[in-house]
Amino acid sequence: MSTLPLPDPDRAVLARRNDVVKQLKKLAPQAVLIADVEGRRTFEADALAAYRRLPLVVVLPASTEEVSAILRFCYENHVKVVPRGAGTSLCGGATPLEDAIVLCLSRMNKVLEVDAANRVARVEAGITNIAITQAAAAQGFFYAPDPSSQIACTVGGNIATNSGGAHCLKYGVTVNNLLGVRMVMVDGEIIDFGGHHLDSPNYDFLPLITGSEGQLGVITEASVRLLAAPEGARPVLIGFDSAKAAASCVAAIIASGIVPVAIEFMDRPAIHVCEHFVPAGYPLDAEAALIVEVEGSEDEIEYLLGKIEDIARDYDPISMRRSQSDEESALIWKGRKAAFGAIGQISDYMCMDGVIPLSALPQALEAISLICRKYRFDVANIFHAGDGNLHPLILYDANDPGQLERVELCGAEILKLCVELGGCLTGEHGVGIEKRELMYEQFTDEDIDQQVRIKEELDPSWLLNPGKVFPILGRDALKMTIDLTNLGAAPAVPGQDAEAVAGAVLVEGEERS
């Protein structure tokens, strides 16, 4: 049971299912077609697992030409299409619809070219993020955007959501590292945008395509920028006795003229859960910890970490540990990268992705803690501090009836807070279905209409990934839902402070694992 409705299926299309399967088989002979119920069930949800729909049929094409043939057929027969990479979307970007085919690109996973002289890799869209770096490593290059799911997620999905990662403070997000795409439009036409050169003639469609969540076309190939791997990289782990001190320290580091390659923030509950999962030596007595990483030669790293530690000393750190070896660095990162998994071990969780201006961080953390208490949930905060991208993980029990609805409302309130503080609903996960109805919090009708007009120019019948990104309930519907359900939520418990919440998470973690 979930609270956000998906569009009702078109019965006429459902009735034609067998014919659709037959036609697809004929049009895309190299494609893998999954038509049986058991097989389709594997694709019934992405990483926003609360939302499930059995797709009409799943097709995994082998080439751009097959994608084109499939899309042309769907266009001519008015069949909806949900593009999918690895299905790691946390916002329901690839949630299927019963009357839509799932077009899964994961079999198109080849490296087509590593062009070292021009520092470009051309790859098929279904390749995993990490595989690009693996293919380019022998020549000393890497692909910079590194979402936590990089072992599994595909570059096509990264483009669809404009993925970031821990290291985007220095290297930028997907849109900053993309030089070209081959895209199949809704009517099957194959179009190349960009290439191996920089800058586009005329309008630049790459930023429009990047982050459009599979609604403007299906990307089958990408040319991405490769960067020379740094000589070395090393983090320092700093513990503070307040989130405010940690946030001030981040601001001071940036003001000093240093842009570290990553600044990651963890609050007390997150520190404890991660340390329990991967003993990386995180400071258990700290209220907040920062992982600050710099790159360069040994001397450069020593110099920069020295400067960062000098700055940190002004904010009374309770611990400061500079990694002394590659093994230690890997361990420090392993704890952070395992955070979602670690929390997943102890509880179901809803991962938020709001962004706030860094200066509002202490205020935001305090408010998030209050909101979660009001809805009676524990929360752990992990985020990319350099760019203000928060990932509150709200812990709940999916098996307890009513909790999903409550956690969604809790999450919505947190995201509204982010917008109020001058930030936005999503920094790197995308809108999908999860934040679809919240778009009104950030945008006026005119803002949304302008985006919709572009969608309608390129996909007039809304066949590509419908029911995502744009609200379908209308402004008032959302407000009503929230008001109604608020009545059922518990009032804030006076006197209960953040520490008690943090403590609850810790105890839970210890008991269960």
């Binding site: 050169h197 800058d199 982050g211 962004v355 200066s359 790197e428 809108v431 005119e446 572009i454």
Partner: protein, 411 residues
């Protein structure tokens, strides 16, 4: 009510005034020429407009948070104002925007931040730090329906809805009139050092520049100038050498800049690095490059060509056999400034014929009015890209009010 619109020059001060002007233009079907201070008015085709809208009265920095690396400014704000405010906090526009004004016959530093975003003309540091559009975080604008719209915001990461902000970058005022932009800014590069090579062939120079870009030393400038172009550099030691000049710049903390330059010198020994410019000389040189000093003062046509670095030297070689050109390669060959003699088409046909073989696109930056009106200033679009461009235009500006004819003569 009869729709009519005051012709002439409009300089709205607020979004509401701007919106009102567009609504009037829509009602009376009056096409508008959109500009900031007009320093790039002679770039692109002449606009067939009934009135001019300038953003110059919408000026001022509305938010600047140095510790968050973000600045929000009204689009009419002069770039010089923005850079002065940034400099007070040891920060800068990392894309090192090219100041085209001096080659177009205007004073340096006059352009507006809106004009910079609208044209997306990035400088030498683009190869390391990204283009103007990569630093755009959000915009406020008025579309062709007179609606005030926004996209993105003032935070570093934002994937909420389609990215209209970066889409408007480089749209030359033909989609919407931007009134405010939010930009990512970065700390200044503490120390600049430059390795100099003399007399390399184009092929060898591009090779050396590409090798430099493939090292981990974060090279922030890779330039190769024909001897005839280098002769116009303000640095006597380089200009007076009488040979082609190849430059590789590193910017970093002082010790790092020294270390990295020495490593690059080692890596490129085969190409015979001859000089290392100290920080003052290096900075002065790249400041001159930023305003295209080597092409100032003349009237000959000037082109800006984007191509694939490894093909750049062959492209120029073939072109030079047909036309007497002077060339400067930036972005390790990915960007080429080409000065041609004053031919009737400024060399457009030949340049584009060669580019069709090598890949890339060409924009005519400087030319006399006659040539400009007779030549495709921007790379002509072929199907299906022309159809897509028309659709995007229609989504923003359905009546075709903004800058008609500016990008393409027939649109």
């Amino acid at each position: 009510m009869t729709a009519h619109m005051r012709l002439g020059f409009h300089a709205p001060e607020t979004d509401e005034e701007l919106s009102q002007i567009v609504l009037e233009a829509a009602e009376s079907r009056t096409p508008l020429e959109i500009m900031g201070k007009g320093t790039k008015r002679e770039l692109g085709h002449a606009v067939r407009a009934g009135a001019v809208v300038s953003t110059e009265a919408m000026s001022g920095i509305t938010l600047y948070e140095p510790t968050e690396l973000v600045m929000v400014a009204k689009t009419g704000t002069p770039i010089s104002t923005i850079e002065a405010a940034l400099a007070e906090n040891d920060q800068e526009l990392a894309c090192e925007p090219v100041d085209l004004a001096p080659v177009m016959g205007y004073a340096a530093g006059e352009g507006t931040i809106g004009g910079l975003v609208a044209t997306n003309i990035s400088g030498s540091r683009r190869i390391l730090k990204g283009a103007v559009r990569d630093h755009v975080l959000g915009i406020k604008a008025v579309n062709g329906r007179g609606e005030v719209i926004k996209s993105g915001g003032r935070v570093m990461k934002n994937v909420t809805g389609y990215d209209l902000a970066r889409t408007l970058a480089g749209s030359w005022g033909t989609l919407a009139i931007m009134s405010e932009v939010a930009l990512k800014v970065l700390p200044v590069q503490r120390e600049s050092r430059t390795l100099v090579f003399f007399g390399l062939t184009d092929q060898a120079a591009v090779e050396a520049l590409c090798i430099a870009m493939g090292t981990p030393y974060e090279v922030s400038g890779t330039l190769h100038l024909h001897a005839s172009v280098a002769a116009h550099l303000p640095d006597e030691g380089l200009a007076g050498h009488g040979a082609a000049v190849t430059l590789i710049r590193v910017e970093n903390f002082p010790a790092s800049a020294r270390y990295r330059t020495s490593r690059l010198r080692q890596a490129l020994l085969a190409y015979g690095p001859e000089l290392e410019l100290d920080p003052d000389r290096s900075k002065a040189l790249w400041d001159a490059v930023r305003s295209l000093k080597m092409f100032q003062g003349g009237n000959n046509p000037l082109w800006r060509v984007s191509t694939v670095p490894s093909r750049a030297a062959r492209f120029i070689g073939n072109l030079a056999r047909k036309i007497d050109i002077k060339a400067a390669y930036d972005w390790s060959g990915g960007l080429i400034w080409i000065e041609t003699p004053s031919l009737t088409d400024a060399g457009a046909v030949e340049i584009r014929r060669q580019l069709a073989e090598f890949g890339g696109h060409a924009t005519l930056i400087r030319s006399d009015a006659n040539t400009r009106s007779a030549t495709d200033v921007f790379q002509p679009l072929e199907s299906p890209h022309d159809i897509l461009a028309a659709k995007l235009k229609h989504a923003f500006d359905p009546l075709g009010l903004f800058n008609p004819g500016r990008l393409y003569r027939d649109r």
